[in-house]
Amino acid sequence: MSEKVLMKGNEALAEAAIIAGCRHYFGYPITPQTEVAAYMAKRMPKIGGTFLQAESEIAAINMVYGVSSTGHRVMTSSSSPGISLKGEGLSYLAGSDLPALVINVQRGGPGLGGIQPSQADYFQATKGGAHGDFHMIVLAPASVQEMADLTVKGFELADKYRMTSMILADGTMGQMMEPVSLEYDIKPAPEKPWATTGTKMQREHNIVNSLSLVPEELEKFNIERYKRYDEVEKNEVMYEEYMMDDAEICIAAFGIAARVSKNAITEARRQGIKAGMIRPITLWPFPKTPFKKAAQSVKQFISVELSMGQMIEDVRLATECRVPVTLCNRVGGMIPSPEMVLEAIKEAAKNGGAR
């Protein structure tokens, strides 16, 4: 697709997955991500791929486990309550060092919650997601174009580190329509000598498993895995800085919250307040360095979130609490307005933020 097309976030993500070589999709419908499944249902049969509506989210994530074991690119998608159901599978994927792409188009919670957008699964995504010591690479798109771009990136990183990549989007990103260009230079997936592709009587069996019978070995696996996570933290951090050169008030926001904040920053600048933003694109690994650096010159941070305040903890950790970090938020499916964020910026400025 060379010319631009008008796509929903969910569709752009699905098409990008196909372009990245994903031929296997398993899922179960849930608003606001159902278009991913609907798109795959239409496209996969035409290109020799597999679309399968599983009997549940638990079944779908275990089908992902199966396909990933054979070395193929595979994905599943869901929204908040469905991701909780997939938790066990996410932990098994990590314990078996299997690459996969998992999409969470978040909606309001807890419980069944509502169908409107939310970012309240930040803790779940970035602090593990299920039992045991593990991490997922968590990517946070802020446009329909990024829904597609980060899907391609997510598959590459998953294969490179034998980990699960998660796209942590929200209902707005999934549902909004924007023009996108889906032109990618797709590199071939790396060799996967560990995959269960049949020995052809020429090698030892490959075993994909997360059970360890000997505690000393399980300890070793965990430590080795965390060495790999160190590599990810060193190499794969992504973020965007917006008007940070002379910023005295710094917004921390991702996804839809970052788009709203950009409008507020433009207006604040017009009113003579030096506001800027650091937008994490990888939520794990979290961009600690730019926040730590900003803390030397910024007077106050404002974490703008569609949650009761989750990322704010990582901002405080990254800035070592050197300057105040306040919260500007809406929850339950509501989105902070640019006016609300502007008010928070002005309040910070009044308290000495931008003197």
Partner: protein, 220 residues
Amino acid sequence: MDYKRLTLICGHYGSGKTNVAVNLAFDLKRQYNKTSIADLDIVNPYFRTKDSTEELERAGIELICSDYAGTNVDIPALPQQMYSITDDRSKKVILDIGGDDRGALALGRLAPAILAENDYEMLMVINRFRPLTRDARSTVEVMREIEYAGGIPFTGLVNNSNLGEETTAEDILSSVAYANEVSELSSLPVKFTSVHDTVYAAVAGKINNLFPLKLQPKIG
């Protein structure tokens, strides 16, 4: 524009049906006092006719819409006043039907009455910048699926080709050949080409039957 008693707006999802339907309702209201718009979308829980409730009320346009539209009740519900569309022949109605064949299923219950009365226009909204309807053949394919599910044959096309806020006059002009091709393949006339009012002036006089649109507000 001339309006039949019922104007049914169908199409591939994301083609801009709701936006076209809302704008048509305002246009119809200028000609005919007892104007209604019916939101029969059972597919899309997010962007709905109901988003324009205030503007519609202010203009005195009746909104026939499920109580659950725009709430967290995520069920494919139809409005309880649905039968007034076919029963009350004193009003003229714009019907906003959900996307694709799944959305058109909602028409099934009304189709016999609509066909019996035979005072309707069934319009297919097309957008060549949507990935699954980029050429005439795939567009007609979607069209046949909708007809089969809804039980009412199309009578015309609406060329609503657009790239959202980035749409240029060239984009609109380039879509004319596509719309004509769909027209030829389906033997249906292009009733009008709808364009955002910011681009309207740039294409006026170059395309027949232009209809200006005001885009609905979007989030972010």
